[in-house]
Amino acid sequence: MPTIEDVVQSCREQIEDSSFRSVVDWKQRHPGGKVVGYFPVYFPAEIVAAAGMLPVGIFGGGNRIAVKRADAHMYSFMCSICKTTTELALNGQLAFLDAFIGHPICDAARHMPSLLERNMQGLLGDLLYYPGSIGTPLAVPYLRREYVRIRQLFEHLVGHPIKDEDLRDSIRQYNEARRLTREMYAIRRQSPWLLTALESYILTRVGTLLPVQEYIPLLRQVLEQIPKRDRRPIDKVRIVYEGAFCEQPPLEFIQALEEACYVVDDDFLLGARLIKGDVAEHGDPLLNLAEAYCNETTYCSTQHDPRRAKSDGFLEKCRTAEAQAVILAPAKFCEPGLDDQVHFMKRAEREGLPSLQMEFQERMKDFDGIRVQTETFAEALLFYSESAGVSPESTGTRFTGVGK
């Protein structure tokens, strides 16, 4: 059996491959098979998989491609994920896509389906329009109808009906993938030395490329081996990271954080964990998916829910993770992330939870600044900060208080 390190390394190669060889291979192995790309944050991949198509998360080109052509198609103040996704499209590196689904998560992302459709011949682009306010009684019936429309769109693309039973099967499989992902995160909260944030990130990210039937055994294989790892705890600060719900930071960025801290929870690839529990597996599958999106999700900067403040969910996450501090680092030019950074920062201040504010870009290549800032922050927490209840003799008080 391959070791965790082997599996992670193999997954890393897949996610760093901007030619998407694994997806292209899937298409070759499935003649006539269709690939549906989706933009973050959340996408009901269950519907695509139930049609026998491959859902693929499109998270830009990372810091391994140079932006040359996309600059002519996008102005200066656009986030990296939109720019590098466009670069991939213009370079023909997304030619395997039969459809691309975006969401109105922000003013930039709203443009992506149209923009890609204009520049990729034969591509089917669409906006899956989530309800503007998920907390009203109108949201679930509306979203169910929207899922019906999306199902019809995919039926047209794949050329056959998508049966309810296939949708329920698909939901069962994605529930299992979500359960296994939650297990990984539980391990990180409980024993962060056993699984790093970088490893868990890579293992989550690869799930946006693989068919769910291949992804589940991969995660099981890793989870089985984690308790047997010979790793010991180190005296590090426990932090929660917030800000990467859409654009993803480079792997080196996560690594730089982990050199100084245990990242015990985060919002990387939030779509994979947006739904907190299982989607109901019986009854109307599209209604169940809509219910889960509106009523069973964790907080997210791109969802508006009048029933709760986002910082309530944020504090709950910090409490559950027993975090000593938070790093609030949204992507540059990310309006929802940058605005919520202040919302979270002020709440953290009120709760006496130390926070560090930074920004990242998917395209960034220099991590010295990030490393120095994080180390300084962690050292201050370990040795100097009384506000966090940290004394030189201990690794500090963990955050458990939640108020408003």
Partner: protein, 447 residues
């Protein structure tokens, strides 16, 4: 502003130069009038320029438009200290400067250059852009006021639909109507007033009349020479029309503008002394240097004859479309959905860009050029506004392939730090030289 106050202005001012004064009066007195309304027990609602104004006004709510407040700060060259205050508080300079200017206002004890602003009793989040969601949430963080979100789905237009488009439209409409009913219930609870259907219908009637007048006004730029500049004067007209939407004063205001323009046309007066080029302006202006950019074009005899934002004052009541007073709520929902961001693909956007609508955007711009006999397009990409700006460079690539001269400028709506005069002047001069050469070569070819 109290509607009667503006009516007074209209009655007592001559037509020449009236419109700018009226706009100034409408906007400048808004906060003083808001306090008077509050003293009378009316509720204060913050809403954005495309919010359901006629409905909110039927509950006698006093409407404050944070965007207009921020734009006025910028136009008065006072926005930067407010923005910097918000940045000191924690907000990033890469976000919407309307929002940061507004947050700066909250952090300045609500002291706006035009007066002290009352706090909101309600924020109405129109969902035209995603920043409205965040802006509403920020306002709520500061004032603990309720937010009402009025959502209208965006639908991409496509050549063929694998679903029943008509059925989808009807379902979307029901979704919007149901939200309007919930908004009515929320307003009844907040104001203690019952919904007055006749009053709402009357507001819609006034809005229809304003819409018709507005369409006449914006069509006047088809005259040669154009009697007004779509940026320099057009945005002033829009500020007043939005502030007074659905009121008698609004009708008087637009009537005065129309009369003024008719007089200019009769006298043969153009927006520039010698009109040589006619251009389309895509996106919002650079308010901190509001006059500077259009004037750089004027020097070369270029005038702006249209901007898609001209659809804002009427919100969907453009062209022949009017609110149907026999079914007010349903018709209101239709107009909310038919707005120019292609919420209703059954009605392809006319005179607009259809930013996120899918398909047709390029043809639509070509049609606009023909309709207004324009020589080229200026795209103004705004740091703050990705909603307006994200596709502009891509449009440039596609529209220019049809031989259309395009200039793309970058600056901001409220933050003066993103304006580089030398760079913008150079680009404008180079563009204008290109237009001159193109015209000369065309003349030579014909000759």
């Amino acid at each position: 502003m109290r509607p009667e106050a503006l009516s007074d202005v209209v009655k007592t001012t001559s037509t020449t130069g009236v419109t700018r004064q009226q706009t100034k009066a409408a906007v400048k007195n808004a906060f003083a009038d808001a306090w008077q309304a509050k003293e009378k027990g009316n509720k204060i609602c913050y809403t954005y320029v495309l919010g359901p104004i006629e409905l909110l006004r039927s509950f006698d709510m006093y409407l404050i438009f944070p965007e207009i407040g921020a734009a006025n700060m910028a136009a008065k060259k006072t926005s930067l200290p407010y923005i910097q205050k918000a940045e000191d508080y924690g907000y990033a300079s890469d976000t919407c400067s309307y929002v940061t200017a507004d947050v700066g206002l909250y952090l300045s004890d609500m002291n706006h250059p035009f007066g002290k602003v009352p706090k909101p009793d309600l924020v109405l989040n129109d969902t035209l852009c995603n920043t409205y969601y965040k802006w509403s949430e920020i306002t709520q963080d500061f004032f603990s006021c309720p937010i009402f979100t009025l959502d209208h789905p965006v639908r991409m237009a496509r050549k063929e639909y694998p679903y029943d488009l008509e059925a989808l439209y009807q379902e979307d409409k029901r979704y919007v109507v149901d939200q309007l009913k919930r908004l009515i219930a929320a307003c009844e609870e907040l104001t203690g007033k019952s919904f007055d259907l006749d009053k709402f219908r009357n507001n819609l009637d006034l809005a229809n009349r304003m819409g018709a007048l507005w369409c006449e006004i914006i069509d006047k730029t088809r005259h040669r020479p154009s009697p007004f500049d779509a940026v320099l004067e057009g945005y002033n007209y829009m500020g007043g029309a939005t502030t007074l939407k659905g009121t008698e004063a609004g009708i008087a205001y637009l009537s005065a503008i129309k009369a003024d323009l008719d007089q200019r046309i009769a006298e043969g007066k153009g927006a520039v002394p010698e009109e040589r080029f006619r251009l389309l302006w895509m996106s919002a202006p650079c308010y901190p240097y509001f006059r500077r950019i259009p004037e750089m074009f004027h020097r070369s005899g270029a005038v702006f004859v249209y901007t898609p934002q001209f659809m804002q004052p009427t919100r969907g009541t453009y062209r022949a479309q009017q609110y149907d007073l026999s079914r007010p709520l349903e018709s209101y929902a239709e107009c909310l959905m038919d707005y120019f961001h292609a919420r209703n693909p059954r009605r392809p956007p006319q005179w607009s860009m259809g930013w996120v609508g899918g398909g047709g955007e390029i043809d639509n711009q070509i049609e606009l050029l023909h309709h207004f006999s324009a020589d080229g397009i200026v795209y103004h990409a705004i740091k703050s506004c990705r909603m307006n700006s994200a596709s502009l460079a891509d449009f440039r690539e596609h529209v220019s392939r049809r031989g259309v001269p395009i200039l793309m400028l970058e600056s901001d709506i409220a933050d003066p730090r993103f304006f580089s005069e030398a760079q913008i002047r150079n680009r404008i001069e180079a563009f204008m030289e290109g237009l001159v050469e193109k015209k000369l070569s065309r003349v030579a070819a014909v000759g």
